[in-house]
Subunit: 352 residues, 4 copies
């Protein structure tokens, strides 16, 4: 039996980080992951204790899991091969250059390295210490959507794990745009809705239970950070897409309702063939039969992205519905899927 | 002081019917409403008792409210002037001809008389006893959206109270279409979301708590009954609108996110002027300042329809957000507003 | 027509404060309330704007409501007669002595003046500037539960508005303890559950939507601040009551399930007589028929406290269920009820 | 490698049945389970299709799972060794005698065989075809709570899987009653709260989303069917326990808050020792440290029963909190745990 691979997770206290730890801990080819925090965060032992108590697989504290301060030396002494970053994007921008020098392969769950075009990166306002190295890494980073970039991911050293919304929108649209059957000039609309874990664990007026329950709202219209990923990956002009996020009063899950005009009149069978053909052999995308639309309950707690569609009677207007779990296929699950590809393992290891 | 008007409500046991009774009971110009049920429904005294216990304003049963069997004689003996129908549409089709013969003014909360075009009425599958009379009533019925048809409503004998979704979509789009600034050929999208009371009180697998909670789903894509109302009232071609309803895990409220392309580049001030100009003096529509989008919590438990918008940086693509309470401005509140107009009273009587 | 009374609210930004403003604004005998904030809180005009936007009756900002900085001069220049404090208890301890000197009548929604016994006040850790004056006010303050202390309230200058949990527990138990039919030595249990607005508006890990939704938990077992109020008002020994609060995944409402042993075997009719006799003429307490237990939905958005019971077949063990809206009968509604009594008005003014 | 065991599930369409199928399908020692329905239920192929679509692990219909009509011949031809019944209790009463004749080992998730005393069985109103055989089976059936009856279960042919509420209450109280430290004459209170899946999948007014959301209520006070199980297993007099179930607005999970008086003054360490000692080596019960109370979120989606406690400062009154997932440790998970014991396997097989 092969030796088990050592991984590390920096930023284990957020929702994605906790899901990631849960997945890595159960992964049969991995050694127990090294859990790290930056010295700036949660210094006190009290907070550390709280964090551990919150980990759902950790129960009443009998788990041996401990979160220790980050240092390059710690990574080296544990012989870590793959580093997962569940950090704010500006922290990732700071750490990845050094990580690469030290030969670590990185899966970055933040938005730090997802965008190829400087124009799109502007929304993040990065201030790179060394602009040349940052530019090299921007160019080298592989957008970690395995269904589209599987080959590149398998040889990548820096994988930019996609945004949760972006994953749901790109996977629904890629087959149709690849088949060139969409009228882009009429505009594509993605009306997307996410559960509250997508807004992060930091308490705020916006995530207070009383603000969210019995409510529903749109936000960041014409200004959400995931827009750049979507247009870049789908090679759309920025005027060809409207992406509108909304906050759902549920803990987890994303549903995107996507509206496209078709160039020519088509049948449901055409659309079905297009989607199924594109995703043949891709186990984590499930195409639903025509007019049988996925719901959020179908995909949460799994790594699936579910895609369904309904075609107008005129055969020229199409509604796609795409669902996934924002913490799994939209974050930690996809990160594990990427690691599997990077290591040459079965794409589903540790995800069933 | 003027004598109080006598009203009756047939179908008081549904969510809209219960809200309507609550509003009518508090209305200062009305006598206690006569509450009626068809003999077919809830015959037993047990069910009657249940019904009363459920009325929220009725508390522990001390209210004098009683639901009695429907008969034309009962309406006559109580000298009822305005009859509210909170009945299935086929029941309304059956009763309204007789009600009109008997000189009753009717506010019908069902979809029975909302549609002018036979093609759109098909989805209801009406089987009228007397086709000629039905056709006359179809022609005479006034679509009860006070902000658009106030004058007609004030003299109407049969008011077709609009659908909840339709109200939210029509009120958001009417100003822009009236100003002729929308590119209809690019298609208008209304991605609409409703709380569960919109699905009615009848228990079903779809409205079971476990099916709805932690979930979100689209339904009736390209086939919802309110579509005909929207295109008729806005004079849209049926290919010019996609209307997609979704089920939100909340008890009440509707939010519609509406996407339009503009003919010419515009500023937020243009859009604001257009909306505010159209609704000047209309107290139940609140226009929000640019980029300040309404949320469902703002309008529930009120008769307001809240409208906000966000304009793309290119000035050519517009997102409108429209919110209301599906049981108030989307049903019972609007029915009272219509009655107020029919009686020549202030539009806000009994709605504050 | 009598001149309208001027009131002021300090601390208008919390949930109770917002409900209070809504009620006072609609109250027919009151002038528009003066809304105040302490200079320490929400200084910036930006925050002020946010606050106003959140007030649900304020809609899109057209209301004239403005929150201005607190000063004694402002109270005087507006000729304020009744001051409502929706402040943290330590702020109330600081302000009330001066308010009394200035002749203001005060309704304090905080826990500052509710407790008569120093031992019970310990949990608050008050540090009074002038211990003698504080002691005088502790003695003079009237516990503002109108169904029990109506006469005292009507002549009081300082009314300590009860805690939300305490109101639900005291109102259920008072009739039985007053009739001396309870075996106290066997212990009384109040297992109480509250919606999240009871935990306040301050964002925290505990009130984050993801922490509350799909969850339920007990807290402050054997240590909640309302325990002292309950035992004092009911004259219980501190060992005679266990009060356990729980956090419900709903925005508002309290349900207390209360367990008592009876001294003698009784019938449901006995209990019913006991409860109804005690609350005869008290409009805001509704006694439900035997075995017909109130639910949270019955009382929220109203000022009612609903009380029901179920008696064991042995006639010796009794379960009481008490429900109310924690922001209304449990806070702002009761405050208005108290003000009505203080002013000699009908107890229900502004509360229907 | 050993041949895999064949199991069958009758009644796969309810919530417990679906969870059970999910667990059995993943269990490494089992062949694919045979899924059965009684001919009376869901005859049409349409309903069958719906059922499959609802199974969460079944996704978009690619699973090979099919539910076929029940017959003894089918069980025989598939060489089924263990039959799981997720049926109404009266169906179980009817089928188990024949199943035993045919040599099948049965795990019955219904309440059919849980009660030893005829008096307690009355609430079910069973009408047995053969009273003698029913009496033999009543006597032979083993109450399937592995932490208490592990040895009996391992050799049982008929295991009565406990009720969800009963599991949560019995596991919390058994250690204390076994240690004889409880004052039973003062009465034990279990105030228990369950998510809606505990009320079953059948749509009803009670489980309608609008009835449950934003609400909370007690039900079946002094009359719930699980009461008999609790008093029998804990050997309590029926006057020594009050068990009050409540309906929580969440999909799954149970929390019981349990109140006991202690005979003698004790320390938290005593209680901790008592609980931990009792559950030493029992992996599916987690004892929380003193004053660290479990929440529903800790145990859902797992087979754990979490137990915590808080002791009054007087050392004589104790609050226990017990949490579990009503569909797992409260139903399907415990059924698998029982099967593991019956087959001599590790208790945790298929449950991690």
């Amino acid at each position: 039996m092969a030796a088990k691979l050592k991984t590390a997770v920096l930023g284990a206290s957020g929702y994605s980080g906790m899901e990631l730890i849960r997945l890595l801990t159960r992964h049969s080819r991995l050694d127990t992951p090294l859990l790290l925090r930056r010295s700036a965060e949660s210094q006190s032992s009290r907070q550390e204790g709280e964090l551990l108590a919150e980990l759902p697989w950790n129960g009443n504290g009998h788990s041996g899991a401990r979160i220790t301060p980050f240092s390059w030396a710690a990574l080296k002494s544990h012989d870590v091969k793959v580093l997962f970053l569940a950090t704010p994007p500006e922290v990732s921008r700071e750490l990845v250059p050094e990580a690469r020098v030290r030969g670590l392969r990185v899966v970055d769950l933040s938005g730090a390295w997802r965008l190829k075009q400087a124009e799109h990166r502007k929304v993040y306002g990065f201030r790179d210490a060394d602009a040349d190295i940052a530019a090299q890494l921007d160019a080298a980073a592989v957008y970690g959507l395995p269904e589209l970039r599987g080959r590149d991911i398998s040889v990548a050293d820096l994988v930019a794990n996609p945004g949760c919304y972006a994953t749901s929108v790109i996977l629904a649209l890629a087959p149709l745009l690849s088949a060139d059957i969409v009228r882009r000039d009429y505009g594509i609309v993605s009306d997307s809705k996410s559960g509250v874990s997508g807004a992060g664990k930091e308490p705020s007026a916006r995530t207070h239970f009383v603000s969210v329950a019995d409510n529903f709202s749109a936000y960041s219209v014409f200004g959400h950070r995931h827009t750049g990923e979507i247009v870049e990956q789908l090679r759309l002009g920025s005027h060809e897409l409207i992406f509108t996020p909304h906050l759902l009063p549920i803990p987890r899950g994303i549903l995107s309702t996507i509206y496209v005009h078709l160039k020519d009149e088509m049948t449901a069978q055409h659309i079905d063939d297009c989607l199924r053909g594109f995703y043949r052999g891709k186990r984590w995308v499930r195409v639903f039969p025509a007019a049988n639309l996925p719901q959020i309950q179908n995909s949460i707690y799994s790594n699936y992205c579910d895609i369904g569609f309904s075609l107008a009677p005129d055969g020229k207007r199409l509604v796609l519905v795409s669902c996934l779990d924002n913490l799994l296929k939209g974050a930690a699950g996809q990160a594990v899927q990427n690691m599997n590809l990077m290591c040459g393992w079965d794409e589903g290891e540790g995800l069933n």
